[in-house]
């Protein structure tokens, strides 16, 4: 039976646990809301991972981790563009730019980060392709999944707590009366703050900033805790029947009804 389904029913943590226990070899392909992820395993261990357009080639991984500088990176792209990562790795080791350990540690760290990003995905269709192995021109790693699963479970608990705090992303945000001065915000927090407006639902803000549900919840939770924003119903949300403006006669009728109720409760 093919291993396929929806992340809503089967979480990333559960999937990794299954792959680990069954010592599976192949590639987990996940079609997320806006990106596709490919995560490859050999005998239940993480071998390779990429999400979306970031293909995680060796040169970009080493550049991002400051193992090579911008000029070296540019030179590699220009001169060794057709080279496989394995060939490029050998070339860099022989030239004394990096060690074998540097390459492996940085790739492990990069693939683990990719996998961590997946833990924030709560929507998406997945399938496990037994026949699909990691790309041959890329260097594979061999990482135990246990620690990643433990970390993922922790994130899952955090997600559940965040969902308790902010149950619906269809609510909007508005600033409280506390002034937004002397506040140190991260880049992502600023991105959200920029769109704080009762017209914008949190879902819209997340979509605009390409933030996952967990990421937007985490940022909004921080802003709420700091007392900088509060949750409000979006101003352009469709009003339920009872909230539609009342005609003058209906207003008088409703007032009379409420006054009757007040009178009755007082007399209890």
């Amino acid at each position: 039976m093919a291993l396929r389904g929806n992340l809503r029913d089967f979480t990333i943590t559960q999937l990794l646990n299954l792959i680990n226990l069954a010592s599976k070899t192949g590639t987990l392909v996940i079609d997320g809301v806006s990106e596709q992820a490919h995560v490859s395993f050999r005998e239940g261990k993480l071998a390779y991972a990429r999400i979306g357009k970031e293909d995680g080639n060796l040169a970009s991984v080493l550049y991002k981790s400051n193992k090579i500088n911008a000029n070296q990176y540019k030179a590699i792209i220009e001169r060794a563009g057709q080279m496989s990562d394995k060939e490029l790795g050998l070339l860099l080791i022989n030239a004394g730019y990096v060690s074998r350990e540097d390459i492996l540690l940085n790739l492990q760290s990069y693939f683990t980060d990719q996998l961590r990003r997946l833990f924030t995905w709560v929507e998406g269709i997945f399938r496990f392709e037994n026949e699909l192995l990691p790309p041959e021109d890329r260097i594979n790693v061999r990482l135990d999944l246990e620690n990643i699963i433990i970390e993922g479970s922790r994130q899952l608990r955090e997600l559940e707590q965040l969902q308790d705090e902010i149950p619906s992303l269809d609510m909007a945000l508005k600033f409280t009366e506390r002034p937004l001065t002397n506040v140190n915000l991260s880049v992502d927090e600023w991105k959200v703050v920029k769109f704080v407006d009762p017209k914008n639902s949190m879902r819209l803000i997340a979509r605009t900033n390409k933030l996952s549900e967990v990421e937007i919840r985490r940022i909004v939770y921080g802003l709420l805790q700091a007392g900088l924003v509060e949750l409000v119903r979006p101003t352009d949300a469709p009003m339920p029947q009872s909230a539609k403006p009342l005609a003058p006669q209906e207003i008088e009728e409703k007032k009379s009804l409420v006054n009757k109720l007040i009178g009755r409760i007082r007399s209890l």
Partner: protein
């Protein structure tokens, strides 16, 4: 005959059933079941699984129904159904159990999302020594200054009446557009 509805909601064991019982002219039609979870049983023995139902007859033509929601999250599918057409709602919070404040906030936000009707928050068990101060509760519940946070003792009829009246005053203000 016209009927109007108010909903009493809040976390598990906040005192919703007791609140309705204190003012209902009929015995509350409760749907309580024995609690199976050991953790929850340490708080109380029975809980509401569908809804509580109390009644206050105003006159021959008007009846107020009070609906109490089940407090446990696993029954939250009932909330939206119960909130339909309500005049307003009351969020009950047990002032002595700060561990439930976060859930109370979540329930409050959920109901606000269902319907933009007026609401008040009732800080129940304010007669207990270990009850939190209203001001601290307001901060913990992240209530804005316009939200009414009222002291309440659900076993006392006068206290429950005050909460209901404050909700009705809020409804009246909203009709007047204040």
């Amino acid at each position: 005959m016209q009927t109007v509805k108010m909903v009493v909601t809040g976390p598990f064991s906040a005192g919703k059933t007791q609140f309705i019982q204190s003012v209902s002219e009929i015995d509350v039609v409760a749907t309580e079941r024995k609690i199976s979870s050991e953790d929850e049983r340490s708080v109380k023995n029975a809980t509401t699984v569908a809804m509580d139902f109390g009644r206050i007859t105003v006159d021959q033509d008007l009846v107020l129904y009070l609906f109490g929601t089940p407090g446990q999250k696993r029954f939250d599918f009932m909330w939206e159904i119960l909130s339909e057409g309500m005049l307003g709602f009351i969020v009950m919070v047990d002032s002595t159990r700060p561990e439930t404040f976060r859930e109370a906030r979540s329930i409050l936000e959920t109901f606000r999302a269902y319907a933009p009707t007026p609401f008040v928050v009732a800080a129940n068990k304010q007669d207990r020594e270990d009850a939190w101060d209203l001001e601290d509760m307001g901060h913990a519940l992240r209530l804005d200054k316009h939200t009414k946070l009222l002291p309440c003792v659900a076993t006392e009829k006068d206290s429950v009446k005050t909460v209901l009246l404050e909700l009705l005053y809020s409804i009246l203000s909203e009709i007047d557009g204040k």
